[in-house]
Symmetry: C2
Subunit: 358 residues, 2 copies
């Protein structure tokens, strides 16, 4: 009997992945050249399915990297000469801020207490920052910025590039891509794919900024925006990429299109509602994010009265795997992924088993 | 009926890969956390099997990246402040040289005519270059540096870091790792794995150099050598990596250990011998690398009298896929991979079919 992974890192595979892998092996996808027409078709299918699934405007490009962590680095290299501004609401948004420092920039950060989102006060953001970074869904704490926060900053700082970390929320989050400039995710979360692929959505403003920056500084090499763009125009990548990963993304995005994003979004809200209700009523749990408007629908975090290891262990006996708290919250929190692959039946099962814990 | 891929990019999968993927799916490897003990065991197994397979000294570390292309960039970022020296014997060695330029360094290159290796004249290499780069096996032309070339430079320039691109030759090439400082490869060639993983072998001199360089410049962020080292000490990676790829590498390296590197090396030489003999005797083909001492055993390149597309097409009807010429040699060359997964029977079949072409 298999486990059901509700962990918010690599998570349960989307339920169609195994059959897609079998088909890929039969078609010898891992052996094809990344310069072949067959690969170009796969790239194009992945791009078009993502475009349709996310309602991505025409002035956006879809690029592939090794991970979302890589995208943090590429964003700073390509889009920031001096100063980025980071809304920090947990460990991952903080890591992005630190990467800007490690790359020799002078970033600014507004840091919220753990379990909260920074209150957006547009007057506090200097007018000359080049890029403003939101971690829309902070995987470490379950604190999610309302989209209105992001759009408000867009209005107040129209010259800045707005970057949205949507790692653990896409395809659920319904971003208005005309009000931001770049968003990114890794495939092992909401898309339910094996890890090893980052997806970087970038508009033409970003490309223009990189083309301007390269006149005065290094913007990296094979994964600079101009290099990614030049190859993507031919439905290719600069390096030999994770071909199987791109193939699986194309197929799973297609499966999600068939199901329909409206259904997926409604189910996500419904499942999150059940989970938060149980957590709120249960004496052992308290949703970590107090402000309901800031509670993530896709990564649900709760404080636990008893040590989290006990709860995790009890559920594991039922083949239900949930995540421990992140960093200093290890032992004190549980983290539960609510991704498209988790059916209502899965979540009901988990809610029932968690309800039964004293 | 399936194709047999003799292409030197992504190539034929190692014959055990499909069953390892099935086992990985049964064990839910793609869903496990990259911070779990289960992942640490996989990392350790991959590292130890590689260590044994390649006879890697204790002062070497094994790090994972997204691709070998990424490793070019990381080498320059971490190991070169000003000036690297590149032996250029084809498109890939030239790309590495260009990456050093794109990253703002001032590299030097000694460029050989296509199909040759640069003659190593140690007197021509400035004494103050920080790093000397060899592409031991140039995938674009099939020109392979004799290992003595590399060791000679080590003797003449003991202070320089010696970097060896072994992308399309490992595990075959029997490097003396004490005479170099770093080597690297991507898994979709000699190891016969799905693309999307680079492997970077690095000794303690490299780590010390990076730790010194970071005092004066940015050496990158999550994939800097100190960052990779810190995580590898815990059998982890800085980012969520290609977990399935690392798992498959562990298993295939284990399979190769069971078979034995001596047998794999002898078979490789034997198969290469058959192939070069046919090419030398056949009126339609001429081995592109004239100097026999410089002919690659793992990527065999031949000039063709008739357009290469005709030859490739004829072989394709027999389900035998070989590579076209690279870059400007498209249409004029064929390139044939001779990797561990290609059995003697495979190569005999290909030799027979190529012999029959007029």
């Amino acid at each position: 009997m298999k486990n059901i992974f509700f962990t918010p890192g690599p998570a349960e595979l989307y339920f169609t992945v195994e059959s897609h892998i079998k088909k890929a092996l039969n078609e010898q996808v891992p052996s094809i050249s990344h310069r072949s027409a067959q690969f170009q078709t796969i790239f194009q299918e992945a791009e078009e399915n993502l475009r349709n699934l996310l309602a991505l405007p025409d002035n956006y490009y879809v690029f592939f990297t090794g991970s979302a962590t890589e995208i943090w680095e590429r964003i700073i290299q390509n889009l920031v000469a001096e100063r980025s501004y980071h809304f920090v609401n947990g460990a991952f948004s903080n890591r992005f801020y630190k990467i800007a420092q490690e790359l020799g920039r002078s970033p600014l950060a507004q840091t919220a207490p753990e379990g909260e989102c920074a209150l957006v006060d547009t007057g506090k953001i200097p007018t000359d920052v080049e890029l403003i970074a939101f971690t829309q869904n902070e995987t470490s704490t379950g604190a999610a910025h309302p989209l209105e926060d992001i759009y408000q900053v867009r209005n107040s700082h129209p010259d800045a590039i707005i970057a949205v970390d949507a790692v653990s929320t896409l395809p659920y989050v319904d971003l208005d891509y005309t009000q931001i400039d770049t968003a990114y995710f890794s495939v092992q979360k909401g898309f339910g794919l094996p890890a090893g692929l980052g997806v970087w959505l970038v508009n033409d403003r970003c490309l223009a900024k990189a083309e301007q920056l390269v006149q005065q500084q290094s913007i990296g090499s094979y994964h600079s925006l101009p290099s990614l763009f030049a190859k993507a125009q031919k439905h290719q990548t600069p390096e030999t990429p994770n071909v199987l990963g791109i193939y699986l993304l194309a197929k799973v995005a297609g499966d999600m299109l068939t199901k329909g994003m409206e259904i997926i979004r409604n189910e996500t809200k419904f499942k999150a509602g059940m989970m938060y209700q149980m957590l709120s009523e249960h004496p052992n749990f308290t949703p970590f994010v107090r402000n309901e408007a800031h509670r993530s629908k896709t990564v649900i975090v709760a404080e636990t009265q008893s040590p989290s290891a006990e709860i995790i262990g009890t559920l594991e006996q039922n083949r239900l795997l949930i995540g421990d708290g992140y960093g200093t919250f290890k032992g004190k929190h549980v983290r539960i992924a609510n991704f498209p692959t988790h059916s209502k039946e899965h979540i009901i099962l988990l809610v029932d088993k968690m309800s039964a814990i004293l």
